[in-house]
Symmetry: C3
Subunit: 345 residues, 3 copies
């Protein structure tokens, strides 16, 4: 179960209470009054812990697990060991998220400004804001209520944060207007100059970057990720987007609602993603593209063309995913044939 050194715990909860929290159904043979003390993985859980199964790959782990309780899809219930109390839910990972949050609500530092922080007098701080040691709040910045600014983070002049934002240690923001409940992880860089140069053998001339970064509500931005501000218009991150570590987002890029950008992806300048686009890890998008709603890009793919809505692509240059799989298969076959000249099809 979670190390109390880092995660103070609530509970215990009865199975009935957890079913209510998770909006799950208690399996027939489970005792609603059974007490559960915490969450754990299938491998490490003991009889007082609740776990979850979300990936069929781990069915064997389930069978060997000593977890007292488990969140599971109804159709897999018969794969659990006898005596494990089951909570049935169509989306066990989602249910687990609620249960885990009940045991371990997010820690919140005390409100107040640490004496070593530097807060410019012309800035405005909402109620119950926490400003950590060494943090810097620039002139005219506006920090929404209950925001938490981590140690040594830097909020630039004029930056606006909505309510309940969490800014990680050593992160920096400038030229940005940020919504509510945005999580900026440690080391994130937001609002610096984009890569804008009029290139020329006589010398690359820097183009003033006069746009902003606009971030919607409920966005998460992973550690050491970078989001450049716009050249003339803004760089925009739609509400509900989740952006993983070390992602690069160029100037004037626009993300719609709920996009999922996995680690180390790069999105070049002026490319636009509609809602709910998913880009796999290390994928790269050229500039000035339009990526349609719900499009999916496989990990490491290189996208050089617009993608229609709802389309999955893969490869470099990226093609529809079925085509890419065929390319992979045909190349593998040709290579095998070459290795073994007597064998033919």
């Amino acid at each position: 179960m979670a190390d109390p050194r880092f995660f103070p715990s609530r509970g215990p909860y009865t199975l009935a209470e957890l079913a209510k929290i998770a909006d799950a159904t208690i399996a027939e043979d489970a005792d609603p009054e059974r007490r559960i003390r915490g969450v754990a993985s299938l491998e490490t859980a003991d009889w007082e812990a609740i776990s979850f199964l979300d990936n069929r790959r781990y069915l064997d782990t389930l069978a060997a697990s000593r977890a007292g309780a488990c969140l599971i899809r109804p159709e897999l219930a018969d794969r659990a060991p006898k005596g494990m109390a089951l909570l049935l839910h169509e989306k066990p990972y989602r249910a687990y998220a609620r249960v885990a949050a009940a045991f371990h609500p997010e820690a919140r530092p005390l409100a107040g400004v640490h004496p070593s922080a530097v807060v410019e007098p012309s800035s405005r701080l909402g109620v119950e804001v926490h400003v950590g040691p060494g943090a810097v709040i620039g002139a005219r910045a506006e920090i929404g209520e209950r925001c938490r600014i981590g140690p040594n983070a830097v909020i630039g002049e004029g930056v606006v944060l909505g309510a309940d934002c969490a800014i990680g240690a050593n992160a920096s923001l400038s030229h940005a207007i940020v919504g509510a409940r945005v999580a900026v992880y440690p080391g994130v860089r937001i609002g610096q100059d984009g890569f804008g140069f009029a290139m020329d053998p006589t010398g690359h001339l820097k183009v003033p970057q006069l746009g902003r970064v606009i971030i919607g509500d409920n966005v998460e931005i992973g550690a050491n990720a970078c989001i450049d501000r716009g050249t003339t218009d803004d760089t925009v991150i739609g509400p509900g987007c989740i952006i993983d570590n070390l992602v690069q987002i160029g100037h004037n890029v626009r993300l719609g609602r709920g996009c999922v950008i996995v680690a180390q992806v790069g999105i070049s300048g002026s490319t636009r993603l509609d809602d709910f686009v998913v880009i796999g890890g290390q994928g790269g998008l050229a500039g000035h593209l339009d990526i349609g709603k719900g499009a999916q890009v496989a990990a490491q793919s290189g996208v050089h063309k617009d993608i229609p809505a709802g389309t999955a692509v893969g490869g470099t240059p990226a093609v529809p995913i079925v085509e890419w799989r065929r390319q992979v298969a045909v190349l593998a076959r040709l290579a095998r044939r070459r290795a073994d000249p007597v064998k033919d099809e």
Copy 2:
């Protein structure tokens, strides 16, 4: 137009004044005394703003634009809407850079050392240097005149910065000799140990990294990029190089003049780039290579061999770009043929 919250504005300027600033020609039917109040994109510009067209992809946007004025190539002038005042220039983006800088000169913080900064007494600061809150200047460091050291940035012992450098928030430099007018963006890491280990199953033995990082004049280094110092010789970044966010430059790498290194590129140890090499986003170069003058590497390519001067390459492993395009085409054709066996060529 640029948000005055972040970008104080000069102007207005007359069309004649802007033509002079940009070294552009006023189109015949435009009024040289017309007043322009700022810059904006074609999409958002109003009749008091000047915009630019640099990419034919946006000709439709030009046609629908309400911009009062526009920088444009002469041969595209007839594609602009009636009434738009045109400034003609062969390189509109370059001309725009000058106009934008006239409206919005780079903001410069006031000279002086913030009381929360830590400046070792043995360091030397030139005139009009700005040292932001929480910044640290190590022993014997030399900071050139008019340098700006951002909040919580760390300048290591003995580091030398030429005049007019700008070091971003939370950046760190050590073991580095830096020229004039160098921009180091937030979170950049310069001068740390390279990845030097004598590898062995009995334990990887760390090799002391005894070189430096030498950076020429007018270099730009993007957010969270990393440049390791040399092992015995130096890592060298030539004058005028522009390096984008999250780039990795290994120990002993040497870049000539004016190289362009796009985001998330990785250059392995001891590889040398001659002048004006361009590496597309997420490209990777193996170690100990020689990349000739003006060579170009397509995005995401993996370079395992030397590249002759003036050659463009693509793919992994990278081959001349024409060859790579043929490989892409032939593989696509084979995959289609396999999908539809009755069709043949």
Copy 3:
């Protein structure tokens, strides 16, 4: 030789002393009493410096070198210029590492807490710990003896560091238990939330990240690299691992002993690497994989399947390296044939 501005020097040493330090054999015609003042590369060394040859690519450089002495494999000894004093060793780079460390032992800042650092009273600092300017040590953290905490670094609540760790400038750690002699380079992010969301069109629900990061002894973690903490179990980095700059390690990943992870690699959540795995630069591993002992992944490869022990793979999707080379060869041949239709094989 190393710039005294950055690297104070010991020595000189006689060839006999260096042979002992490096566990090398003095070549017959070399004078054991010859004095050497420092280390340098073959290109820049003068007659008072010792260099090394580890890569046959540089045999011409050796022939032209003016180095006074050189560490070299016995079978290449006859390629050195006359008069160069040779120290013979089967692993010259390893021998060089010891010699270089003798001339330039790692600099250690003075013990003590800088007055601008913020150290929570409930934390515990071992003897001879150095805490640099602006560094922050959170509540209940435990810092082992002789640790060095760089300027503006942030050690989170409850974090444990073993003895002799070095934490770079602007790095941040949270939710982590770290062994002895671990080097965390500038800008590293350890212990932040993993990318854990129950994704859903109605909104991506954040899953509490309740694991830790456990790091073994003698680990090196490169600049701006990111290691997320586990979801329920821990993220584990085995002893002796070396991790290069800008690497991404997702939640619940487990690395065995002595793994080598080159720059910009991404390892997705819950993937496990056995001992001595090597991942080339920019390689990507999907989640939930098992990578066997001593497996090797070529640079830029994309791994979607488990890899058996001792296997080398390449390409995206990665296949055994021999197969990948064949794929590359067959595709190149097909593309050439297509380009020149009259030529056939």
